[in-house]
Amino acid sequence: MTNAQENRSNEACVENYRQDFPALQQTISGHPLVYLDSASSAQQPACVIDTVAEYQRNDHSNVHRGVHTLSHRATEAYEGARDKIQGFINAASRNEIINTSGTTESINLVAQSYCRPLLSAGDKILATELEHHSNIVPWQLVCEQTGAELLVVPIDDRGQLNLDEFDNLLTDEVRFVAIGHVSNALGTINPVKEIVEKAHALDIPVLVDGAQGVPHMQIDVQDLGCDFYAFSGHKMYGPTGTGILYGREKLLEAMPPYKGGGDMIIEVSFDGTVFNELPYKFEAGTPNISGVIGLGAAVDYLQSVGLQQIAQHESWLLDYMTREISKIDGIRLFGTAENKASVQSFLLDDIHAHDLGTILDHQGVAIRTGHHCAMPVMSFFRIPGTARASLALYNNAADIDQLIVALKKAQQLFA
């Protein structure tokens, strides 16, 4: 290993980061917690937890509508978080940053507000076999509502998109492309920029489900060129109940509101209602103020560590994990794409993933088991589910070693 030295210094950094996360300082069944389930939901650094609590202790009030001091503080903090997020993904304008409750809502918003008015029978939406249910079901619903049809780009045995098939399916009947940036079940990084270019050549807009992209690599929405980018706060070390829809201003401007309520209007009367400007048009009702402020703190934290540093560390650790895990007899890996991030799915002998999960948990190792909300991927491999270990900036080689020990124990138990 040529980069052993770099790696050692990495490990020292990571040790510091681990200290930032209170949840990691605990034991489970007498073992130090090894949290390998960050793709489901990441732990939060103390700075995020404290920012939210301090906000609640000192500054909370409703935003936008008040002249008093607390309302002003809350509004400044809430809108300040929007600015941070804009910078974080390099959006052209703060008006392009819509706060939602998560990736799922962001995608539903686009399906209902952008696509639904646009679609009619015979139109096609293009998604892929890799998608999370949150990037499938909203399109199925809007297809049912409009008579449009959902087409699916298939994958190969390694879990990579079949790009020839993508080219074939991308006809001028396609009105919209929805694609994940990184597969949560297999870790595949999709060639999103290339896909956007091809779709745009036919004037077809593209939504990228970035739930698994944002925590692991530097995102530049202008460089990707996509029209919408959706992600969740809780997968990037921020609070649950927060998420972002990035959308290009021109498209957002033209879309009808998704929900009606307070703050998304300029004027309401029973004769008619004038909607507010961006981004407020899409933020009906009291937003998740404390959550968004926490998300802003998570962005600060991610930027203080550095996305490049994170990507490098996780990439090294993913290699290490995959290599070590492969050494176990009877392991089957799912998701072996050339370009991958942070996730490894596997099965061991004929032990059901659910049993594996329990046995590992009993040794302090938290992994996720099941279909990972990606049933079409499971159907492709003709399995009901996998065990999945997923990495975050706070994982280290010792975590992987404990995983391997635990897997061997499971094997003994079921031998």
Binding site: G30, H31, H352, A353, H354, T358, I359, P384, L413, F414
Partner: protein, 160 residues
């Protein structure tokens, strides 16, 4: 802060030999062609999925039982133990076993049911599950499917 390996650490309390045996070699596995009752059990959140078949005699005793599907060791062993046990029993007796198992596994609400002084026999092998709350649903899946089959409910049962 490390590794206080205790005796339960090898998890033989959960994965007893009898459980592993029934999981590896499930009894009465396969479709029952002349079933009179049938129900699906689905645990959508972990992917366990099984279909339980019963042939019930005129006198309401269980003539035959079988199941198919896929699941973890706990749910397969539980289905195997279940089918093995109930064949030949009157369905009222089966109901007593159902109540007893629910109680034994600490399923909320099960305390209200008749306790009954049943000898659970091999079913005691499921006792360890109680200490693993996230697995209780696996152990009860087949039982709830059976219950719903006997109630002749046509829809799949879900434990979630």
């Amino acid at each position: 802060m490390n590794t206080a390996f205790d005796n339960s650490d090898d998890m033989r309390d959960l994965y007893r030999e009898l459980i592993l045996d029934h999981a590896r070699n499930p009894r009465h596995f396969g479709k029952l062609d002349d079933a009179t009752h049938c129900a699906d059990g689905i645990n959508p959140l972990c992917g366990d999925k099984l279909r339980l078949y019963l042939r019930v005699n005129e006198d309401q005793s269980i003539a035959a039982a079988g199941f198919e599907g896929s699941g973890c060791a706990i749910s397969v062993a539980s289905a195997s133990l279940l089918t093995d046990l109930i064949i030949g029993l009157p369905s009222s007796q089966v109901q007593n076993y159902y109540n007893a198992v629910m109680q034994r596994l600490g399923v909320p609400g099960a305390d209200d049911a008749e306790p009954g002084s049943i000898d659970l026999g091999k079913l005691k092998a499921l006792d360890g599950v109680r200490e693993y709350p996230s697995r209780v649903k696996c152990a009860t899946l087949a039982w709830q499917a059976m219950n719903s089959a006997l109630d002749n409910q046509p829809t799949p049962v879900s434990t979630e």
